[in-house]
């Protein structure tokens, strides 16, 4: 079980039932490591209600270009992207930059 906070900002909340912040407790099936890759799989299969919305968030098995992913406020590029091992208390945020300013 891993307890984290996930945020969908910059308009991304529309594909997550218009809610910006989620406190999640995700079962990890006894496996020790829960990576960003696992989190994305979890979000896609459990939290995006409309299958057509998946492509708004995911492209080529990773977060779509134009969406900024932060792990505890740090760009995930610096944290190992999909390989980052999530820990209890982490705050993961996804911010879309794709529409008008």
């Amino acid at each position: 079980m891993v307890n984290i906070k996930v945020e969908f900002l910059g308009g991304l909340d529309v594909v997550f039932e218009k809610k910006r912040t989620y406190d999640l407790s995700i079962p990890t099936d006894g496996v020790d490591s829960f990576t960003m890759k696992d989190l994305l799989d979890y979000l896609v299969s459990n939290m995006i209600k409309n299958p057509n919305d998946v492509e708004v968030f995911i492209e080529d098995d990773t977060v779509r270009p134009g969406i900024i992913t932060l792990i505890n406020d740090a760009d995930w590029e610096l944290e190992g992207e999909l390989e980052y091992e999530i820990e209890d208390g982490d705050v993961i945020s996804f911010t879309s930059t794709l529409h008008g300013g």
Partner: protein, 369 residues
């Protein structure tokens, strides 16, 4: 619409920071982002400093402002203009530009979109303590965007909106007696525009599209883009870290399709090589048309073409509204004429179908038997 700031991660972990994770500028704090421009890893404090200073340098090198000048910030409530208003106020105080800043917003009359984003602008006004002026399509043209879409259909909505909004900003500035409007166009927008102009072979626009200051011939109002070299990613991160209150919802009407294609291409290019945005701008700046004899035909011998651009020499005015136009009748008046012809002559009482027409259309699209 209420607004909640993004959460602050609590750093309760005692994980040691590796030397390779340190900021490359101050070497003492943990880096939190890799700058797309140069792939430098820097910390939050250093990021604020370099981001703000780069914009300051852009302003100074291009002589954007004169002391005592009154400047209007085109404010939509979106991320770019919110950060722009914040940064301009900050830099004006820090570096004493001596400019007077006003927020200028255009209300296109799109229920469920612009009313919410204007609420954001009104909050910004209080947060930054800047005066705010709102000009509306309804007031200027007696049409709201919702009515226009109901009359002319959703397909051309961006054309109408773009033409009217551009003119509205000028008219709003004129009303306030301000001659300089700054907008939040960023490096990504500019690179997209360069790409779009190349893709559709619009040579005439290509040359002008990278100018930091633009002024239509004869127009008393100039426009400039202090964020010309600022990456969208950094603007969004700046807003995120500073917890600025901005509005982020896609316009309810059809997004501009061609720009969407260019944007997607840009984002994919950026993912491969982040510096490509600045590279495209640089290329755009250096693409200069070979001078044609004809282009300066109207000039008197020995006259410098540059002085003509800033004067009123070829400033033609629209016969109907007096707005600057290269034709007899300006684009806005032409669009209005078409609209008036099609306006419904009978108005239903308590008819609310016009408001948020796009929303209804979107809902209908998803219905099936």
């Amino acid at each position: 619409m209420s607004w909640a700031p993004p959460s602050d991660p609590v750093n309760n972990k005692s994980k040691p920071i590796k030397i390779s994770q340190l900021c490359e500028l101050c070497h003492c704090r943990k880096a939190i982002l890799k700058r797309p421009k140069n792939l430098q890893k820097i910390c939050k404090e250093c990021f604020y400093y370099v981001f703000e200073t780069e914009i300051h340098n852009t302003i100074v090198t291009n002589n954007l402002f004169q002391r005592g000048e009154r400047v209007a910030v085109g404010a939509s409530g979106g991320k770019d203009s919110t950060v722009l208003a914040h940064i301009m106020k900050l830099l004006n105080e820090r570096h004493d530009y001596g400019i007077d800043i006003t927020l200028l917003s255009v209300d296109e009359g799109i229920v469920g979109y612009r009313d919410d984003s204007l609420a954001t602008v009104k909050r910004n006004q209080k947060q930054y303590g800047l005066p705010l002026e709102i000009v509306s399509f309804k007031e200027l043209y007696n049409w709201t965007m919702d009515e226009i879409v109901a009359t002319a259909g959703i397909r051309n909505s961006c054309t109408y909106c773009g033409v009217f909004r551009r003119q509205s900003l000028d008219r709003g500035a004129q009303k306030l007696n301000i001659h300089h409007v700054i907008t939040g166009h960023n490096a990504d927008d500019m690179a997209e525009t360069v790409l779009m102009n190349i893709l559709r072979g619009d040579v005439a626009r290509l040359e002008k599209s990278t100018a930091i200051i633009t002024q239509s011939s004869g127009s008393p109002i100039k426009r400039s883009k202090p964020f010309k070299y600022s990456y969208q990613k950094e603007i969004v991160l700046y807003a995120h870290y500073k917890k600025l209150d901005y509005f982020s919802t896609e316009c309810t009407y059809a997004p501009e399709a061609f720009r969407g294609t260019a944007r997607e291409l840009m984002k994919n290019l950026e993912a491969v090589r982040p510096s490509c945005i600045i590279d495209i701008i640089h290329s755009g700046e250096n693409l200069v048309l070979k001078e044609k004899e004809q282009r300066f035909k109207k000039l008197a011998p020995g006259q410098d073409p540059l002085t003509v651009n800033s004067g009123f020499i070829d400033g033609n005015r629209c016969e109907r509204c007096g707005y600057l136009s290269s034709n007899k009748i300006c684009k806005a008046c032409m669009l209005l004429e078409g609209l008036e012809k099609n306006r419904a002559t009978i108005i239903l009482e308590k008819d609310s179908s016009v408001d948020g027409a796009a929303r209804v259309m979107r809902t209908l699209e998803h219905l099936s038997f």
